[in-house]
């Protein structure tokens, strides 16, 4: 019986360690994306972009808005613009891989669209910011993409 108790105690301790590992890794906070939207548009309107609908998200990325708890999407406001900001809050981390695939596909389609004549656009696409952190995934194209990403991260990043 002593051995059983010891084994059970070891199982509890190990569980505590696993939980601690999972809960105290550096993870972003669950914040409403409206906060990010406000921060991004606080100083000036986003250049050559407009807020876009679920339908547009589907057309551009093949993603269903209803699959995600929240998303924020500014699409190009004219055919010659490649500026774009998409941030998705995922329901669970398993969605990230497929979202990443959707981002790569969008990027390669856009590169193909502007290849050969839109040198500025191609340059911006080459420096696109895509990635993920915890439950968030982002796709940003534009001269200020790096700053937009910094702004967004400053809202959701919480150091544990």
């Amino acid at each position: 019986m002593k051995k059983v108790l010891l084994a059970e105690a070891a199982a509890v301790l190990l569980l505590a360690a696993v939980m601690a590992l999972l809960l105290y890794r550096k993870t972003p906070a669950d914040i409403p994306l409206q906060d990010v939207r406000t921060a991004l548009t606080k100083n000036a309107p986003l250049p050559e972009m407009e807020p876009a609908s679920d339908m547009r998200l589907k057309r551009a990325f093949g993603l269903n808005a209803s699959d995600f708890p929240e998303y924020l999407y500014f699409a190009p406001d004219n055919t010659m613009s490649v500026n774009e900001i998409l941030i998705i809050k995922t329901a669970d981390e398993s969605q990230l891989q497929l979202i990443t695939e959707a981002f790569s596909k969008r990027l390669s389609v856009q590169k193909k669209n502007f290849d050969g004549y839109g040198t500025d656009q191609t340059e911006l696409l080459l420096h696109a910011k895509t990635g993920s952190d915890g439950m968030y995934a982002w796709f940003m194209v534009g001269k200020d993409a790096e700053n937009w990403l910094k702004t967004a991260k400053s809202i959701w990043e919480v150091k544990k």
Binding site: A11, L14, D30, S66, D92, L96, K105
Partner: protein
């Protein structure tokens, strides 16, 4: 990783099958384990740790039960408690805290936790091992690789069927691989893929259009949306189960059937014998029968049914609509047992009413909030904000009726016999050739859809 993705179909599956078939017999479980871990980690690297813990816990507690038979009841209690604690914490913690905050007007901080994918499925599988080992149904599994391969087996890891250890115990040691079996598995996999990509995704797109409108819908839209979701969830989940069973066959395993044309059911009881059979079996074996089943007095039986169905609802997710959905079925089953089954109702009428109740059930299941459930059901029965039919409804119906009709056709057992003949190889040569050409066509069209569609999550992943 999901089955209906280009990465799985063209990279993971061919590589896994090749490796699995070329390694010697004694290494097959190890290959299955390693590839399953890669499959799981692809989308959810961090939570592999939790799954490994679950494996270690259930394996070692099994060994302890075997070594100390006099303490096995206590060991089982401990193991079940830890398993449920893990499941409860990751799945229900946020829901519990939200409700505590709402009821007691508190503002306790809620840490948002990502749901480890497949946790409901693999925890139930592990529990089936622990409980049946305690009951002495099979000897303890001393080989950790075999045990881990059982828990992690990639074909059914993420969305079932929930394979009980009892059903695969012998197959973990000995399973037959043969070309006819591989072929059968491949056919089943292609059928599942086509169900998911061609029927579930297309009916899902119809449902999404209605869902986007929220409460602002007409009666016709509400019915179109409800029907579309009814077909989407069936083809999505049964498609996944077909793919899982097919993959199992390819790897030499025989998994239990999870669906049997549920929309042809003659009663709600019959529906649940045909829908998500592995979950129903699990709850019957490990909750309903231990509570006394139906061999008790009426009041206790009512209690047992309501407990089982509330748990079934909760198993699907930490949200009130799932609890309501579970209790809705509990009440329907009680009404059926104590009232309706005593009436003589023609079979056709029973089928229609069963389907109606099931469709209403899916409205509850698919609506995030109580007001949305009520407005959608009211809209379906004539109390719609936009009247009987608005422009959106007419457009939806005009553009989607062929898909809905196809979905209805394939959800009923009309092609069951010809397909069975084909599976058993009893059909004529011409018939078989036509069948295989159709399968190749289905595979090609499904892949074409997959390449153009980026995101194809299975509905049951979130459970």
């Amino acid at each position: 990783m999901i089955f209906s993705s280009v990465t799985f179909l063209f990279l993971f599956l061919p590589f896994t099958l090749l490796l699995y078939y070329i390694v010697p017999k004694k290494l097959k479980n190890a290959v299955l384990l390693v590839t399953s871990l890669v499959f799981y980690a692809w989308g959810e690297p961090v939570y592999v740790v939790l799954m490994l813990y679950s494996i270690l816990l259930n394996y070692s507690m099994g060994l302890l039960m075997d070594r100390f038979p006099r303490a096995k009841k206590e060991i089982l209690g401990f193991t079940v408690a830890i398993n449920l604690l893990m499941l409860g914490f990751f799945k229900y913690y946020g829901f519990l805290m939200e409700n505590i905050n709402a009821v007691f007007h508190l503002n306790l901080p809620i840490r948002s936790l990502a749901l480890p994918i497949g946790i409901s499925f693999y925890t139930f599988q592990a529990l089936s091992y622990d409980i049946d080992l305690y009951r002495g149904k099979f000897p303890v599994q001393k080989n950790i690789v075999k045990f881990a391969a059982y828990i992690t087996m990639f074909p059914q890891l993420i969305a079932g069927p929930i394979v009980r250890y009892e059903d695969v115990e012998k197959q973990m040691d000995q399973r037959k691989l043969s070309m006819p079996r591989f072929g059968r598995g491949a056919v089943r996999f292609i059928i599942g893929l086509a169900k998911k990509v061609l029927l579930a995704n297309l009916t899902g797109a119809i449902f999404d259009q209605v869902h986007l409108a929220g409460a602002d819908i007409s009666t016709l839209s509400a019915w179109t949306g409800a029907l579309a979701y009814t077909f989407q969830i069936y083809f999505d989940f049964s498609g996944y189960s077909d793919m899982a069973i097919g993959l199992g066959d390819m790897l030499g395993f025989r998994f239990m059937e999870n669906f049997n044309y549920p929309y042809a059911a003659e009663s709600v009881t019959d529906f649940w014998r045909r829908w998500h059979i592995s979950l129903g079996t699990w709850f019957r074996e490990y909750v309903y029968i231990p509570l006394g089943g139906n061999r008790v007095k009426v009041l206790k039986h009512i209690r047992n049914i309501l407990i089982v169905w509330m748990l079934t609802g909760l198993w699907h997710g930490a949200s009130w609509n799932f609890v309501i959905w579970g209790l809705y079925y509990g009440l329907l089953l009680l009404l059926e047992k104590y009232v309706f089954l005593k009436w003589k109702i023609p079979t056709a009428v029973r089928r229609v009413f069963t389907l109606l109740f099931v469709i209403i059930g899916w409205v509850i299941f698919s609506s995030d909030t109580l007001p949305l459930i009520l407005t959608t059901i009211s809209a379906m029965f004539g109390f719609a904000k936009k009247g009987f039919a608005d422009g959106t409804a007419r457009y939806l119906l005009r553009s989607s009726w062929p898909i809905l009709l196809f979905a209805a056709f394939f959800s009923l057992p009309i092609l069951k016999k010809p397909l069975e003949k084909m599976k058993q190889g009893r059909a004529g040569v011409l018939y078989m050739c036509a069948g295989y050409i159709l399968l190749l066509l289905l595979l090609s069209v499904s892949i074409a859809f997959l390449v153009t569609e980026n995101y194809n999550p299975f509905l049951y992943f979130r459970f």
